[in-house]
């Protein structure tokens, strides 16, 4: 074996996998550094190429498309137009061409933001105690963590479907309530805003719990002991000691729930029943029945900008609270 390895050694040297530094003194360090940099970019190249081809690059094309004219059967005409962007915010009356705000679009954006904020809040209210519960288990912590991780990695569509089955008119909740004689007619839960809220909280809850758990796991409980020693009540210890310590986790969890909620497509489509739209469905509509690709592209960019602003706020906040603690 040793002999075989020795031969592969000499081959490897030739390929320059690592700085096989040449020259003497000052030159050696320089050359080695240059070679290391080149190697770094060579290793990065395939991943970056794929990402440029199928992730970053196409985003630029969306930007271009938002400034073109819609084609009659979908697609675009290659003519410059700001109509797509105009239509994001305004409508033109079909009869007298008067311009008014695009209530339909704006209200959908506003609904999406509201639903996402509510989802984030609900996820926090349920997720915080859950994460704390897991983080303070003496034994079997791994098992509880595992139980949270499973929904995190299982199909979002299946989980949405599972919720749908439970809350629909023929579902187990309504059937049980009727059987118990509590109600006579099934309660309409499915295809309401509430069902979207419920569904999104359900599917995104693990995204809140996991970062919360990560920061709670690091709490030094001697600090909490110190708080109790200094006459803090449980509520005061929670508010004044535990919460500030896990704040980075709260922010991370909130952003992880808020961003996918805002761009949600599957959950509102399945649980909203096609009439209760969110931004994601509005965008899809432009590429389907709406046949207005430039408008769809402009809406996409708008959504992307909102998400990026949220992310930038998050990064700033995270680095600031990081500085406080570090």
């Amino acid at each position: 074996m040793a002999i075989g390895e020795a031969t592969s050694d000499s081959q490897a040297e030739g390929t320059g996998v690592e700085p096989a530094a040449s020259g003497a003194g000052e030159g050696a360090g320089e050359a080695a550094h240059r070679q290391a940099v080149r190697r770094k970019w060579l290793l990065l190249a395939p991943a970056l190429a794929i990402l440029v081809f199928a992730a970053s690059g196409p985003l630029l094309i969306v930007l271009v498309y938002s400034f073109l004219s819609p084609g009659p059967y979908g697609g675009v005409e290659w003519a410059f137009s700001t109509e797509g962007w105009f239509r994001v915010f305004f409508t033109r009356d079909i009869f007298d061409d008067t311009v008014g705000p695009a209530d339909a679009h704006l209200s959908i954006f506003w609904r999406s933001v509201q639903l996402s904020v509510l989802t984030t809040l609900l996820a926090f209210l349920f997720g915080f105690p859950t994460a704390y519960f897991i983080a303070t288990r003496e034994r079997n912590r791994e098992v509880w963590l595992f139980l949270i991780t499973i929904p995190f990695w299982t199909n979002l569509l299946i989980r949405t479907f599972a919720i749908m089955e439970v809350i629909r008119n023929e579902g187990i909740i309504n059937t049980a309530l009727i059987a118990l004689g509590l109600i006579e007619q099934p309660i309409q839960i499915l295809f309401t805003d509430f069902s979207i809220l419920l569904g999104m909280t359900y599917v995104y809850l693990p995204l809140m719990v996991l970062p919360l758990y990560a920061s709670m796991d690091k709490i030094d409980f001697r600090l909490v002991e110190a708080a109790y020693d200094l006459y803090a009540t449980r509520w005061q210890a929670l508010r004044r000691v535990i919460f500030p310590l896990v704040k980075p986790g709260v922010i991370a969890g909130s952003i992880l729930v808020f961003i996918p909620s805002l761009g949600a497509y599957v959950t509102p489509r399945v649980l909203g029943g096609g009439k209760n739209l969110m931004v994601g469905n509005l965008i899809e509509l432009q590429f389907g029945q709406g046949r207005n690709w430039p408008l769809g592209a402009a809406l996409s960019i708008t959504l992307l900008v909102i998400v990026m602003v949220a992310l930038i706020l998050y990064v700033r906040n995270a680095s600031r609270s990081g500085a406080e603690h570090g």
């Binding site: 985003l59 094309i61 859950t130 791994e142 479907f161 599972a162 809850l205 959504l303």
Partner: protein, 291 residues
């Protein structure tokens, strides 16, 4: 005030002071970590997380068409799903895409992780990280739209409408998921091990083969597993990128949800769910072994 209750009582304000009871009683021993009501909410959460899935699984075995009234145990919906050609085709397609995408993504992510970890800050570092993590930050619907537009252009230009578009799209969004565990593993790895290998006459290639790679394996496998699950689960991007007749299992299911749903969907979901759980379990144990 009960000052005679038990040893836990101490003077001054604070949690040691009991209020109201005059009856001496056994008090729950004080625990620093306990917060009242938290455990209840947590258990409620776990129940809420699993109750719908549990219901879904149970009714996949229902003999009737109802998803609420139990009519006896039966395998009929599994048989129906098995006999469904569309389901079979979509499943195979899902697995093919996920296999290609996760293998390619893990390979390039491993290379990228080797390039970006354990080195000094380099020029363009922020841009590289932003690129790698982009699929995590940009809403899926936006990526879906972007790929729809871009691939439509290529389809027109080349006439090719095969699975490669889906594989490319899936590979791209799998990269960050494969990258993260590999990078974490690399970062927790002691840099001096490779230095020690070099000191002991190992060439860079030998040091990589004998030291770095064996220690990195659990991370690579974990990354592969995650990438596979993520690809298998994707709905939105696939929905936009797929050409006619290229349904994966999730997009097929999404299409079916518009129609009247029978427990056949429950059966399909249950199988799908089980596979995901199995993969995640393997991943979980791989990452446990990290230490």
């Amino acid at each position: 005030m009960a000052s005679t209750t038990d040893v836990g009582t101490r003077p001054g304000p604070g949690p040691g002071v009991d209020t109201g009871t005059t009856q001496p009683r056994r008090r729950r021993p004080f625990s620093v970590k306990r917060l009242p009501g938290f455990a209840t909410v947590a258990i409620l959460c776990f129940v809420m997380l699993y109750a719908p899935i549990f219901t879904l699984v149970v009714y996949s075995f229902n003999d009737g068409t109802s998803i609420a009234i139990w009519e006896g145990f039966s395998w009929r919906w599994y048989e129906a799903a098995w006999a469904n050609e569309q389901v079979k085709e979509a499943s195979v397609r899902s697995v093919v895409i996920a296999s290609f995408a996760s293998l390619i993504a893990t390979t390039v992510a491993t290379m990228a992780a080797l390039a970006t970890t354990r080195s000094r800050n380099f020029k363009g570092q922020t841009a590289v990280y932003a690129m790698i993590n982009q699929p995590l930050m940009v809403p899926e619907i936006v990526t879906g739209v972007a790929l729809l537009i871009f691939f439509a252009l290529i389809k027109v230009a080349t006439g090719y409408t095969g699975l490669a578009y889906l594989v490319a799209a899936h590979t791209a969004f799998c990269i960050p998921f494969a990258y993260l565990p590999i990078r974490a593993r690399l970062e927790s790895m002691d840099l001096s091990l490779e230095t020690a290998a070099a000191d002991l006459y190992a060439t860079p290639w030998m040091a990589f083969r004998r030291i770095t790679l064996p220690l990195l394996w659990p991370g690579i496998l974990a990354g592969l597993m995650l990438a596979f699950v993520i690809s298998l689960d994707d709905v939105v991007i696939t929905e936009f990128v797929k050409s006619a007749g290229q349904d994966t299992l999730p997009t097929y299911m999404l299409g079916q949800l518009r129609r009247v749903v029978t427990p056949e969907m429950n059966a399909i979901s249950t199988v799908f769910f089980s596979i995901s759980v199995a993969l995640v379990t393997v991943f979980f144990f791989l990452s446990r072994r990290r230490r």
